[in-house]
Every structure is written in C-alpha cells, then in structure tokens.
Symmetry: C2
Subunit: 173 residues, 2 copies
C-alpha cells in the first residue's frame, strides 16, 4: 500500500526532499513573526471572501481570527520558531485536526491558489523562501488529501454496512 | 466539546505546560543522538518481549528495528534535533499514523510503564530531562487515546448503520 507521503508526493508533484527543504535554513529567524502573521491574515482574508460558496463553507464554523492564529502558530513552530502551536493546543496532529473538513483534490488546489496569491503579495518574504514554502504547502495539502481518504474508507464501510467487526487497516506498510 | 488536548491533560494528569516543558531546553543538544537510539531500543526490547500477548500483538505487524527508528527519529525531531522523521516520512501526523492500533487507556498505561522502565535504565539521561520526557510521553499517550476515540465514533456509526450521510463532527470546537 502506498504511504501517506508517497501519495502526497505523487499528487502534489513535489518530492519529499523539496517539501522539507524548509528545514535547510531557519525561516522563522530569516523572516520574523510578523511575516507569518501577515501571510496568514492575507491568506484567510482571501479564503473568507472566496466567491465559491463550496470552498468558503468549509471554513464557516471557524472564526477567521482563530483560523489565522492556528495557521501562523503552526507555520512558526514548523519553520524554526518557538513551539507556539503546541504550547497552546498540543500536537499539530495535522490529519486528525482536518478530519471535520472535506479535504478533496479540488479543495487542496483552491487552498493552494489562495496561498500562492497571498505569497505573491508578501513583500516581506524573499523569492527563495517563497519557493520553499510553496513546495512545503503543496506537499502538505496533498498529504492531507491522502489523510482524508482514510476517513472515506470508513465512510464506504458505513455505506456497505458489512464491516461491523472489520479490523482497521494500517495507513502505512 | 472537549478538545484533544483537554482530554489528554485530564486523562494523563499532566498539564499542557508541563507536557511541553521539553521545549524549555534543547534536549537533543543536551543528550545527543545516541541517548535517543538507546532509549528507543531499550523500550522496544521490552515491548516485543512483553509477557502480555494483547499488548505485544499490537506491534506484531511492524519490524522491531523499524519501530525503533520511527520512534527515535520522531523524538529527535520533536526535541530540538534535525527533522530526521519528516525528511524520511513526512509529517508526524501522530493520530493518523496510530490509526491502525487500538490505543486504549489500558494500552497507554502499559506503553508508559515500559517507557518508564526504559528511562529508569538510561544512565545517559539526567533526572531532570527524564521527568520532562515522561510528562511529554504521558500527555502524548493520552492525546493518542483521545485521537483513538474519533475512530471509535465512526465504528459506532458503522454498527448502528444509521448514518450513511452523517456529517463528520469536528474534533475541536
């Protein structure tokens, strides 16, 4: 069975090594907290104003300011800064925390388009960092699509209603 | 609804701030790679030799050397070292990757007992670091028990077979 990260690489077109090139330099030290806050604010302004109702509705149960904070705290923590996210909320547990949302290929692509636009407008992030960050975001978005499939496996079981005692299948070999 | 981290704190008896006191100092720099390899090796030797078949069987589909590597690479990455885990396997996604396993309260306690014994035998880890690590492990173990409940919610749905089109419920408010 293909692993989560193999699916993420295949669907995103981003190799694992390129996705985690964000770790080659400390992007938090390079860019500073405010750049991350600005990026997430710009991103979620776009998301909450999206003309596509199907996409906007994914975020309808979250306050915009909470979404912004959750995102930039995770980015800061993952890109070399203080563990702001975990101090407040525990482990990122990315797949489990996205479980309420329909993370489809289509949703991933729209998320990424908003993030690309937000990055394009970020004058406080240098071009090389933008490329690294976008590779990370692209790979991660499709990692979450792969994670979403685990949930859909369960749903198919529900529909079939044949698997009352079915064992959980490993996500990884 | 109680969040994952609130359940983790309640069930483990470890406050969020104590769980993430591992971030106060860089434990990787303090202890070095070999200490983490030794700890995970000692831990999994105990797990694979456990006299309790119900617990040992949880790990039966994984090779011991793979389990050791996955664990120490995650610990190294999370405790201030290089991102060895993500370079090889992508995001930790702790809850999703534990999805194949029955992470019950009883299993968490037994996992923790083996880890406590392994730490007790680790002469290359100082007492203060051991306390920090154990708080982190204890909180994380019950964070995963909380994550496991999400899966059980689905299973209950399957048994009831009433929820063909049931919406996913958020794990967090």
């Amino acid at each position: 069975m293909q692993s989560l990260q193999e699916k993420a690489s295949q669907w995103s077109g981003v190799h694992q090594a390129d996705a985690f090139a964000i770790d080659e330099t400390n992007l938090f030290e390079k860019l500073g907290l405010q750049s991350f806050i600005n990026l997430s604010t710009n991103f979620y302004n776009r998301v909450y104003d999206d003309e596509e109702e199907w996409f906007r509705s994914i975020f309808a149960n979250s306050k915009k300011e909470d979404a912004i904070q959750n995102q930039y705290e995770f980015f800061v923590q993952r890109m070399g800064g203080p563990p702001m996210y975990s101090q407040r909320r525990g482990h990122p547990a990315l797949i489990a925390r996205h479980r309420p949302f329909p993370v489809t290929h289509q949703a991933a692509e729209r998320w990424l388009q908003h993030m690309q636009n937000a990055l394009d407008e970020s004058s406080d992030i240098d071009p090389e960092s933008k490329i690294k960050m976008m590779n990370f975001f692209r790979h991660t978005a499709f990692f979450l699509v792969a994670g979403d499939e685990l949930k859909n496996q369960n749903k198919q079981h529900q529909v079939g209603c044949k698997c009352k005692h079915a064992a959980e299948k490993p996500a990884e070999e």
